[in-house]
């Protein structure tokens, strides 16, 4: 959806046009769900929080001001606030994912598919242990594929700060995988 169309739909939605808001919703719901899922690693919880995000967006739409940023930037910020609130209520950072089994120690004769699944599990856990800001950068930059300038807009920081954050996040994740015994290069080669 281009920016002019988005502005038009926002104007209509602010006047109470349900179809316009529904179109904005459909255009952004999957990106918001993915973002929330990667932060909480729980499908049902991600669906609930996604619903919360759009309900809040609807309630706040009347006073929403464009400020030259795409609508999804605002949605990401609502999602971040909802996730932080959720963790505060839980009083802990959840490390379990949808898969309940403990990580299997890496061995040389491990099946490649299992190896990759194990690596993915360790990686998700490692992402969950990053700081909030590092998590946001990792998800928005590498999973959602946004450019650094867009990530900076969404997070309210300048591009240099984002570059530093992504370096620290990647360094932390790489260290975690290596300590778990994974050969990152080997996994990448196996995926190619």
């Amino acid at each position: 959806m281009d920016r002019v169309e988005e502005l038009r739909l926002l104007r209509q939605a602010k006047r109470g046009d349900a179809d316009s808001f529904a179109e904005l919703y459909r255009d952004n719901v999957h990106a918001i769900f993915r973002y929330v899922y990667h932060r909480v690693n729980d499908t049902q919880l991600a669906e609930d929080l996604t619903g919360d995000v759009f309900t809040r967006a609807l309630e706040g739409l009347g006073s929403y001001s464009d400020q030259g940023k795409p609508f999804i930037a605002w949605l990401y910020r609502i999602a971040h606030a909802r996730i932080v609130d959720h963790y505060r209520r839980m009083e802990r950072r959840p490390v379990e994912s949808d898969v309940d089994d403990e990580p299997i120690p890496v061995t040389l004769d491990m099946d490649e598919g299992i190896l990759r699944r194990q690596a993915a599990k360790v990686l998700r856990e490692a992402i969950a242990e990053l700081t909030d800001e590092q998590q946001q950068v990792v998800i928005l930059r590498f999973m959602e594929g946004h450019r650094i300038e867009v990530v900076a807009q969404i997070m309210g920081k300048n591009a240099n700060a984002i570059k530093a954050l992504q370096h620290r996040a990647l360094r932390s994740l790489a260290g975690r995988l290596e300590r778990a015994g994974f050969d990152i290069g080997g996994i990448i080669a196996g995926l190619s």
Binding site: F54, S63, G68, P70, F142, N158
Partner: protein, 393 residues
């Protein structure tokens, strides 16, 4: 190289490599070959980024998407419509604080001001209302909120037009005032207020469509229709209108006199161009062209006595102007009480080098936005929300 000692110059190198490797334009090894000094950390972090990029999430189920949409539609029905309306006195807190002080200073006059709030052009207290608006505009200018106030003034003028029309009292002057304030709102809109101004123009367009057409109002009404479709520039601002006065009222009337000299060969043509503005403004300018024709040339310029901006000379000699051929127009704004002058219009209309639309974004779902950074604009906005608060829209 020890990871912990990586200098800041590494960050943009990493970022550059991330862009090209993640997009498939280059490989990790090709990047390392360009920056061998950082081979180890680049390899680790680029490979990790590639792994992260491959992490999948389950999709939100279709049923969940549909159920949420139905819930949102239901909520929208019961929610009061967010009608765009800008009450005149709804302004920034800083300006409001100053106004409270002014109110107190004005003392008993405050009652008069409040009593005039609903007055229409022609009513007894309408001049009080206009004076009060100029005070607020002056104060708002000090706080850099003039764009906000111009938008509210435009909304107020629109409300007045609607009220006058319903009472059968609509005049051209009311439409002219609406044009002026709307043009100022468009001209002064920054990236914060641009979207609100566009919403207002949409609303105004709908409102004016319901007003009975009259032959005496046709010209200004057409000017308004043309004004209510502002162009959004790439930087998020709006293209300023060519004039804050309705064009149909500001077309120049050309009265030309000339005293060609047949001999000697030099002829002096004097063109007087007068602009008829609103009745209180009659700026005039004079341009002088000195023509030096060939000996066989007999200058007989013909200037039509009615409205053409550029005199047409026949035949066209070699012109050596002794002055700027285009008349310099001095715009004298309608003086507001308190000596507040509106923003003067630009001298010439915008050229075609200005693009009418912002750069469209690519699909958000595939993840790549093409909009240029708005870093400097974004940095002036409210910083990100506190952890437990909703982000300020």
């Amino acid at each position: 190289m020890n990871d912990k000692t990586l200098p800041p110059e590494f960050y943009p190198i990493l970022d550059q490599c991330l862009d090209t490797v993640l997009s498939g334009q280059t490989t990790v090894e090709q990047c390392i070959a360009r920056f061998p000094k950082y081979a180890d950390p680049l390899r680790r972090e680029l490979q990790t980024a590639l792994l992260v990029a491959r992490l999948k999430s389950p999709p939100m189920s279709g049923e969940a998407v549909d159920n949420l949409e139905a819930r949102l539609r239901g909520a929208l029905k019961t929610q009061p419509h967010n009608v765009v309306h800008y009450p005149f006195f709804h302004i920034s807190r800083a300006a409001a604080a100053v106004l409270i002080v002014v109110f107190l200073a004005v003392g008993s006059g405050a009652g008069l001001v409040m009593a005039s709030a609903d007055d229409l052009p022609g009513d007894t207290l309408y001049p009080v209302k206009i004076f009060w608006e100029s005070v607020i505009l002056f104060l708002a200018s000090i706080f850099g909120q003039a764009d906000d106030v111009w938008l509210r003034l435009a909304q107020t003028r629109l409300d007045e037009v609607v009220a006058l029309d319903s009472q059968g009292r609509l005049t051209q002057d009311a439409l002219v005032k609406l044009y002026e304030t709307t043009a100022q709102a468009i001209a002064t809109a920054d990236t914060d207020t641009a979207a609100q101004v566009v919403e207002y123009t949409d609303h105004a367009e709908q409102v004016l469509a319901g007003i009975q057409s009259r032959s005496d109002l046709g010209g200004v009404m057409l000017d308004l229709v043309g004004l209510l479709d502002p162009v959004i520039l790439e930087n998020g601002r709006l293209l300023p209108p060519a004039d804050t006065q309705p064009p149909s009222l500001t077309s120049p009337q050309v009265v030309a006199t000339n005293t060609p000299a047949l001999e000697p060969p030099t002829a002096t043509l004097t063109v007087t161009i007068g602009y008829t503005d609103t009745p209180t403004n009659v700026p005039t300018n004079t341009a002088t062209l000195t023509l030096t024709p060939t000996p066989s040339y007999t200058p007989t310029p013909r200037i039509p006595p009615t409205a053409t901006k550029t005199p047409t000379l026949s035949p066209t000699p070699t012109v050596t102007p002794s002055n700027t051929p285009s008349p310099t127009r001095t715009w004298t704004p309608v003086p507001l009480p308190g000596g507040i002058s509106p923003v003067p219009p630009t001298e010439s209309p915008p050229t075609s080098t200005l693009r009418p639309t912002v750069t469209p974004l690519g699909s958000g779902m595939s993840g790549t936005f093409v909009r240029q950074t708005q870093e400097s604009v974004y940095m002036t906005q409210t910083a990100g929300p506190p952890e437990t608060e909703e982000p300020t829209p």
